[in-house]
Symmetry: C2
Subunit: 437 residues, 2 copies
């Protein structure tokens, strides 16, 4: 049986998982591939920490270029994350004719087009299933399983940390800060959770999916992004009373070529399948024009789930190597020259959830609703509860579909009123699931 | 741009969908494949019925062998269903070096090993994504996305008709017969719904998934199969009271190589994600040792969803043709010689739901529980409701885990008691979802 040698750059959580899976499931993997897969070199700046797996010290190096330059290595697996030096390692490996695997969402989000093009030109494979939704084969589904479809909609819960925090806040009525702190203590949230809770990580992943779907590079910076840090138990409780759950969604809609893409906390119907995605789980609800609505669900991060995606990419590449083949017939990203743009956020129409902080005085509601009317924003329902919170009474409101630009204008005026005592809380609603399932 | 010619055998619902998708999404498909795909011949016994799409009459034939024998055709798509003559067409096409696509679950369930081996020997591709779960790329996930994993469990809602009927019975409290009749009138159930409601169709699909997972042919006849025809609104209502939904599950579990596979109506926790799969939708809940629990959800049948899977297979094959490659490095089914057997149903251990039809007399429960005790079956809970139905009082019981063989013995004795007036209703429970999610 032939042996294919691979090199792993980065022996953190995922790298350790990759080595572990290749070892634990060696027999079934060899049976499926028809070849042996040998991790012949591992690079990490820290080669002394105990990773919980026994490793032959002679395969460890602190210099990633030892892997990139090793002529026996056919597949380079990059798992260090971040843009540089990861990009250099990948591009150098590709230039040397090596196939590459990466789970690096930040890098692909920013420079995917360049890296995909390099692999296409050099006729080598690039696997990146682990970059979105961990072990769930969403990228494969878009590239292959749904290749017959025009993808018309995607609603993704793409960040497990944010979903864990929102789930805990919902189930236990606790504040964002309390739950975040606990999650950090339990190791479910990073010491610096900013990218997870401010939506950036979800935007990275959405941009990769968009780039695949449209064959054009979209970067996270083009995607309107809001996080979950300002959500209060009051918002969650009121959303629940009205039949909604609040989820951090990365979503896109294609309405006859006008593409909307955004990341923000969203009210979705609590009886929808997506609302039942709890804890650290991820899900992607994807509609294609032929296949209709679908959903993929599973663990979106972690040693073994992401390791599973990375190893499946390695297996796929090894099968190609045995056949003397590679994947890409046309480059993944081909249309950088084409006029394909995201719709301006100002023009997006959605339903809104609003929580005003108003002084308990007569006429407040009349002033607020007058301003909304002036901006053509129509009220679907309004509830004022008697509770005074920090000297103000919350007024909850749901609107019919309104244009974002109008909402911004209205809220600027409302927040400047003498009778409002804090910035209005604004969330968007996506409740047309019933039309889809 | 090169043109690849394909032939379609069978212009029924799915065949029409395939032609429609290739036509409607021609531009994006060509962009993704890098070639034109032309349906150059279509065979059907009936070439006159209006299918709702305009077709050049010169490409229509009533003789499928016109397609198999056409040297210009590279890909033969078989969509007539049933074992013969479908098998002959596929094997002849493969023998001529053509790639094949099929959505024929009955055929692959019975003769998959032979057909897969033929395609392997002849170095041609075989696509069969449409044979299980319609448009949901479950086969791709098992072959590729989860290739790094030992698959340890699968709970599948694999038949949309059965799920539609159970959903309606649950939501509207109606009987099986009433809902079936309505479903037939609405076109959601076939005129002869036997394969759907007796579990056979689900067993076909489970046998295909098992064959893929283990690389060994399993046929539907090896899988213990029960349908949903005997489920009553009483069972559904009582299950709900206890926090369960009844679903027709096709399931398998791998406990250290001891494989259980069965198809039967099953009580599952009503707060599990699978319990929320409603109407004609399908879902596969799959656990791998690395990836953990995952779920795939979508439409499992119909013109466009299954058409989506068939066209994605065609696209995949066309990409391979352009590269001069094909998929299989090792045969899909390799281990027919190995000792790999399903566990005997008699040895399976599950929790049970029992509904006894007892006469309203003192001492009945004592007799029933005495017999259960004799067979080492331990009772988890019991409820006797005052209602008399057809001269008997239903006694509902949930048991702890019991061995199937013991349950059969106990029920034989109980059903022979003078105080029981009808055969005991027996359903199995799978409620250890919490450990998985």
């Amino acid at each position: 049986m032939k042996t294919i040698e691979i090199g792993v750059i980065g022996l953190g959580t995922i790298g350790t998982g990759v080595v572990k899976i290749l070892r634990d499931n060696r027999e079934i993997i060899e049976g499926r591939v028809g070849t042996k897969i040998m991790v012949s070199k591992i690079a990490d700046l820290d080669t002394t920490t105990d990773r919980g797996i026994s490793l032959d010290p002679s395969i460890l190096t602190t210099n990633a270029m030892d892997i990139v330059n090793d002529p026996r290595i056919s597949v380079v697996v990059e798992l260090i994350g971040g843009e540089e030096p990861a990009a250099t390692y990948l591009l150098e490996a590709i230039a040397k004719g090596k196939h590459v695997v990466t789970a690096n969402k930040a890098l692909l989000s920013a420079r995917g087009a360049e890296i995909f093009q390099a692999s296409f030109d050099r006729k080598v494979d690039i696997g990146f299933e682990g970059s979105v939704c961990g072990g769930i084969p969403v990228i494969q589904a878009i590239k292959d399983g749904f290749s017959a479809n025009r993808i018309t909609l995607l609603f993704g819960i793409l960040n497990g940390t944010a979903n864990y925090i929102l789930t805990k806040m919902t189930d236990e009525g606790r504040t964002f800060q309390e739950v975040l702190q606990e999650a950090q203590e339990l190791g479910y949230a990073e010491a610096d959770p900013a990218l997870d809770v401010n939506g950036t990580d979800s935007a990275h992943k959405l941009s990769i999916l968009l780039s695949l779907i449209y064959g054009k590079q979209f970067t996270a910076s083009e995607i309107h992004t809001e996080g979950i840090t300002t959500i209060t138990p009051l918002d969650i409780e009121f959303a629940q009373e009205l039949g909604y759950r609040i989820k951090l969604l990365a979503l896109f809609k294609d309405d006859q070529g006008a593409i909307e893409a955004r990341v923000h906390p969203t009210l979705i119907p609590q009886d929808s399948l997506l609302a039942h995605v709890k804890g650290v789980y991820n899900a992607a609800f994807i509609c294609g024009d032929a296949v209709g609505p679908t959903m993929f669900y599973g663990r979106g991060a972690g040693m073994m789930p992401t390791g599973s995606a990375v190893v499946s990419d390695i297996i796929h590449i090894c099968r190609n190597i045995l056949k003397g083949s590679h994947d890409q017939v046309v480059p993944i990203v081909t249309r950088n020259d084409r006029q394909l743009r995201l719709k301006s956020t100002n023009l997006v129409k959605t339903k809104y959830y609003l929580r005003f902080s108003a002084q308990d005085r007569p006429g407040v509601l009349s002033q607020i609703s007058g301003i909304l009317g002036k901006y053509s924003i129509s009220i679907a329902s309004v509830i004022q509860k008697g509770r005074e919170v920090f000297g103000a009474v919350p007024i909850f409101m749901l609107t019919h579909e309104a244009v974002e630009e109008n909402m911004k204008g209205a809220l600027k005026e409302i927040d400047a009123l003498p009778v409002t005592s804090a910035k209005t809380m604004v969330l968007r609603i996506e409740d047309e699931f019933d039309a889809l399932i």
